[in-house]
Symmetry: C2
Subunit: 323 residues, 2 copies
């Protein structure tokens, strides 16, 4: 009997499929490819599969107890951790794909510069075909960053800000474990103390019960009035109404949100029109960058070899912890 | 008789003035400070000054033949080189202030990412309060840059793109002299050969007779259809009408212009509405960033010490060459 893998993905190129085929051949697996419009076919195939490579709670729910490994192609696996009932096999391994660091960090660099260089205001000047250019601007160089979340995304952000001359980069994580990308890493319990010293707050946290509204109204008030807030993690991590209030009252210099709660943001949500807010429709870390797709397949193939050899999986998620 | 310096600048803080005072004291000079609304007072004072630190053709024109050094606080000194008659003393030294590399490079990083990440289109999505996020994007990582001009600005751009993982950075300069910030530097005569291999063309050239319309219609046509053009040098360096035509015909992926010809761009200029074009009103390198102002004063003080000691001036411009 063959050892089968169900692959339910839209982004795979022919080159990606050939790469997966080769990894399967090497490890004694047989891959079965389905695109997102082939849900029923994928579900039928899944019944005799040992491995699933996808990002679909619906498909996972249809998996038999014989599924041993679910490789999620996204980084955020909160939908799977919050619903343990999705797994017919309680011991099914869950891996995520931490391959979004480059694309999300480039997004963060972009919106950081757009905020520091007053682009929300200059875009308005240009929309009116006018010409004024004396707004005071700021620089990444010599600036101070606080990065909430020191994982793949936080580290890629830190490296880029360092390369552009940032003066200080503080990280916050659950453990507070030091990492060379950061000048200092504090445990997240130090957040209240760190906020008043923050010039640019980058939020790159997974969605867990502990991170929900971690940036609440009281904490937003602890930020200096010339601070900027950037969120590329999960929309639930901040109190959106409190953020809009602070922006509109001039108690924050600006913000850039790529994630919202809920998504899509309702058409008539007042957040759309908050002052000095750059909204993007969750574009920072999706599968629209070729590099992200390539690394996603690389990681799956590498972990397939780990799995076949009985080695630990690089992307293994602690389902209780949530990341 | 005292050796006097006329300083006609708007951006100086009290700290800057104290720094200049100290440098003058050390070198035996007396500084006289004027703001831009004190033109007549500055002009009267200038009559007995040996040095002028300003950016004003009108004031320079009023200087006596005894002026020995004009330190221009801008990087682009084409107005002075094109009009040698401005100098009553034909041997007057001219220095420029190459302190705009950081701010202009940050602008270039910002607009490069805005283009690669399809922000002109996403800004339109967001303006309509809609939510679509599947536009294919590109990355600085593994991308290929051609930088026209390998001076202070070109080098700062190259360093930042390198730090973000650019695959290849080619420079073009008059001499073609190698520089470690670039993988290769070609003489500008190789431009036609380099353009077809270019993904992102960054133009950071001084305005000289040779650079006028250096990116003409024929050369724009040599760029691949997925290429981007970014100009932060002088508006005269490219054929604006040909660029708009190429953008509107989909023969270029996009462009970002911070400099135009003329400036301000007329209200009804069709360039305002060219497809995938990011226009900014000459903001990349002005005096709105504190770091730029600090470095400007640093450079003046350092060259004042050079001048007093009879050493060569760091910012010396070849008035015939134009930079």
């Amino acid at each position: 009997m063959s050892r089968d893998i169900c692959i339910y993905q839209e982004f795979l190129t022919e080159a990606h499929k050939a790469q997966i085929q080769a990894a399967c051949q090497e490890t004694g697996f047989v891959p079965h490819f389905f695109t997102l419009d082939q849900f029923e076919e994928a579900k039928a195939c899944l019944q005799h599969c040992e491995v699933l490579y996808a990002h679909s709670a619906d498909l996972l729910r249809a998996a038999p107890a014989t599924l041993k490994w679910y490789c999620c192609s996204f980084a955020g696996v909160d939908p799977y951790c919050k619903n343990p009932g999705l797994f017919a096999n309680p011991d099914c391994l869950l891996t995520n794909s931490n391959v979004y660091g480059v694309t999300i960090a480039e997004h963060v660099v972009m919106v950081t510069l757009m905020l520091l260089r007053r682009m929300p205001e200059y875009l308005e000047v240009v929309r009116n075909h006018s010409w004024s250019n004396q707004l005071s601007i700021r620089s990444i160089r010599d600036n101070e960053f606080t990065i909430l979340g020191t994982g793949d995304i936080g580290r890629h952000v830190a490296e880029r800000m360092r390369g552009m001359g940032a003066a200080k980069i503080v990280g916050l994580s659950r453990s507070g474990r030091p990492h060379p990308a950061f000048d200092q890493v504090y445990p997240i319990s130090e957040l209240d103390a760190v906020l008043p010293q923050t010039k640019i707050l980058v939020m790159a946290l997974p969605s867990t019960p502990e991170t929900t509204h971690i940036l609440n109204r009281a904490r937003i008030a602890r930020l200096p009035a010339d601070a900027y807030v950037i969120n590329v993690g999960r929309g639930t991590a901040l109190d959106q109404v409190a953020l809009a209030d602070a922006l509109n009252a001039g108690k924050l210099a600006g913000a850039a949100l790529d994630v919202m709660d809920p998504e899509p943001l309702p058409k008539d949500d007042p957040l759309w029109d908050a002052r000095n807010l750059i909204i993007t429709p969750h574009v920072s870390g999706n599968m629209t960058l070729g590099y992200t797709c390539d690394r996603n397949v690389d990681l799956f193939c590498a972990d397939l070899k780990n799995y076949a050899a009985g080695r630990p999986l690089a992307g293994l998620v602690d389902r209780n912890r949530g990341y």
